[in-house]
Amino acid sequence: MTLYIQGIGIVFSGGCGIKALESTLEKGLIRPSSFSLPQRGIDNKKVLRVDPSLLLGYGHEKKLRRAHPINCMALIAAEEALKEANLPLTGDTDTGVLLATGLGSHKATFEYQDSLLTYGEKEASPTQFSHSVHNSSMSYLTQHLNLHGPALTISNFCHSFENALLLAYAWIFQGACSKVLLGVSEEFGDVLGYILNGLQIGEKDFIPGEGAVFFLLSADKGNACCALDPFVSSPLSLKDSVLYAGINPGVFPSEIKGEFLTTYGKYFGWMMTQNAFMTALGALMLEKQKKYPLPCEQENADGPKSFNQKQLLIGTSHLDESFSFIRLYTT
């Protein structure tokens, strides 16, 4: 069975929506902001954050007044995916929702701990506690899109996105629902910045990021931009281009190194579920048949080049030193 991508919605440091992604890729430009914790000796580290003002203007300000950015990013990315698929789903019970997240609402967890330390156990914040639950983004999403079908949150650190894809496949395959709105949402915060700095993961120019990306998946071809196969057990048999997500390409089998192993991940910054963002980028490359320039912090003179490929592998190296592949192909 084939999973077709009917729509993609994205929120990342370059903006909201697939057009914002396309525009960023055409220019090949990223604009990291900086992150400092002077008392911790962390000074001017780069990070690709989502401008909170981007999350306004969707008409949800009142309903989302208590929501955290991770909740808002998920909702907006999901809405954008539906808009792109031209499929209003409100009140739908036949669409499953899967939210994958590596670390969940960690900022709300720390804010809840702040309230605990500041006000004591008897006066801790119920609002922060209820937002710290991993399922909080899913709750906002289903409420605002009025979706009543199966709706689950998956959390397996770096494996979250691919595991959610597997479940989407199972749901559609055995008829639990006809469509699945599947996405990821990750946030950046001071404590995470401190932790990532301490773990010293990745390369020297490691840049963390935040954002959300959603895909509307179905078994019907419809107007799909491309198809997706989450079961690539033997990537070496495929002579594909490999888009790389993760922090250490050294874990890939040597035979596939250098084919097309690039640093496109820096368009989004590193997140546990960066492979979902790379899947969006790969889908756009296949649909537009363009090889976009590598991300650069200055104006990039290169521009996109033509790209004559029918399929792409999204290769991911995980923190646990395992690797996995998702295959995208044209329809």
Binding site: L103, P126, Q143, L152, L166
Partner: protein, 388 residues
């Protein structure tokens, strides 16, 4: 049923305040004895809300994983499969809440103070994905997944396991829920005014909140084909699973329970049965005013003919483990033809309109139902059937 059941339940395992293992649990239910601690022993707290703990248990790599490991081992022994995997593709699905969150208050205190927090806590957290840990521990080759839908996590994990088997992704799946008591949910549930200062009383008119608990409940699900190939016979099968979403509120249930009812009907549809064939309902029954009112309305409407009880009076509310544990308890009830009592119940609530079973009693039937409701509006229903 005219057709052979697709998904067998080949093994059961449970660890909770009601007992370490199936036999202890059955004894607790038959004696009706509740083991309630006045305060948690795992962490210091100024609150005085009782809990139901699993005592004398390892905390390595975490208590959440250690309890899951023991429950899984028990289930795998019954399934007679763990050391003879052959070509079987075995997956793991775990439902949890505490088990996937970074909640170390000591780390955060040190961070706030400006001293160096223990980075070992982070490394330990990143190694403690329960599904992945169990997959590696048992050397399984199939997929793994951790689902976190608050208090419905364990039930959804079992439902996902059945979907994997139906989709041909696995021959066998170890599925269930696990969660340990922790200061963050303990104080968090208190902040939401959901904790009782006395032993909980599910469905009682004077119920005033829940007691938190901890534990792990797992089942081994297996395709009929796989069991047949290895000559294994089981008396139980997973007849149906349904889930539906309230899309209503971050923490509160839909007041009419519309989507709990929808989840139950989806499970009926999957099982090919009607409400009349359900002999016993193991209810979510947390003992909070809102949950029990909402759930009670739905259960009264559909199951006036069935015995109903909540087992949370024996286990406390074990959050992500609850759906797993209660699926195991439902299966045990069906196997041993008894209804575990609804500990703590004294007086019928006119707003609910039924009294649950208060003394352990026998029943005969072919199907039982377990319901789960979680923060975020997730509802799940599992139907367990008995092979003739």
């Amino acid at each position: 049923m005219s057709t052979l059941p697709a998904i067998l339940i080949s093994g059961l395992g449970a660890v909770s305040a009601a007992g370490a293992g199936i036999n202890e649990t059955l004894k607790t239910f038959s004696e009706g004895k509740r083991l309630i601690s006045s305060f948690p022993s795992a962490f210091e707290t100024s609150l005085d809300c009782p809990v139901m703990e699993v005592k004398d248990f390892s905390a390595e790599p975490s208590k959440t994983i250690a309890m899951a490991k023991v429950a899984c081992e028990e289930a795998l022994v019954e399934a007679k499969s763990p050391r003879e995997k052959g070509n079987l593709k075995i997956g793991v699905v775990v439902g949890t809440t505490v088990g996937c969150m970074f909640q170390s208050l000591d780390f955060y205190k040190d961070y706030k103070k400006g001293t160096a927090p223990d980075s070992g806590v982070i490394k330990k957290y990143l190694r403690s994905d329960p599904a992945k840990w169990l997959k590696n521990h048992f050397h399984f080759e199939g997929p793994f997944l951790t689902v976190t839908t608050a208090c419905a996590s364990g039930a959804n994990a079992i439902g996902i396991g059945s979907e994997w088997i139906k989709a041909g992704l696995c021959d066998m799946v170890l599925a269930g829920g696990t969660d340990e008591l922790d200061l963050i949910p303990y104080t968090g549930f208190n902040s939401l005014m959901l904790l009782s200062k006395s032993p909980c009383k599910p469905f009682d008119k004077n119920r005033n909140g829940l007691n938190l608990g901890e534990g792990a409940g797992f089942v081994v699900l297996e395709s009929f084909k796989s069991a047949q190939a290895r000559g294994f016979k089981s008396d139980l099968f997973l007849a149906g699973y349904g889930t539906a979403t309230d899309a209503w509120h971050l923490t509160g249930p839909h007041p009419e329970g519309l989507y709990l009812e929808r989840a139950i009907h989806k499970a009926f549809q999957a099982a090919g049965i009607s409400a009349l064939e359900i002999g016993y309902v193991n209810a979510h029954g947390t003992s909070t005013p809102e949950n029990d009112k909402t759930e009670g309305k739905v259960l009264k409407k559909l199951f006036s003919h069935s015995g109903i009880s909540s087992t949370k009076g024996f286990t406390g509310h074990t959050l992500g483990a609850a759906g797993g544990l209660e699926a195991v308890f439902s299966a045990l009830a069906l196997r041993h033809e008894f209804i575990p009592p609804n500990a703590g119940f004294e007086e019928e609530d006119p707003e609910i309109g039924f009294s649950p079973v208060t003394e352990s009693r026998s029943f005969s039937g072919t199907y039982v139902l377990s319901t789960s409701l979680g923060f975020g509006g997730v509802n799940a229903a599992l139907i367990v059937g008995k092979n003739p």
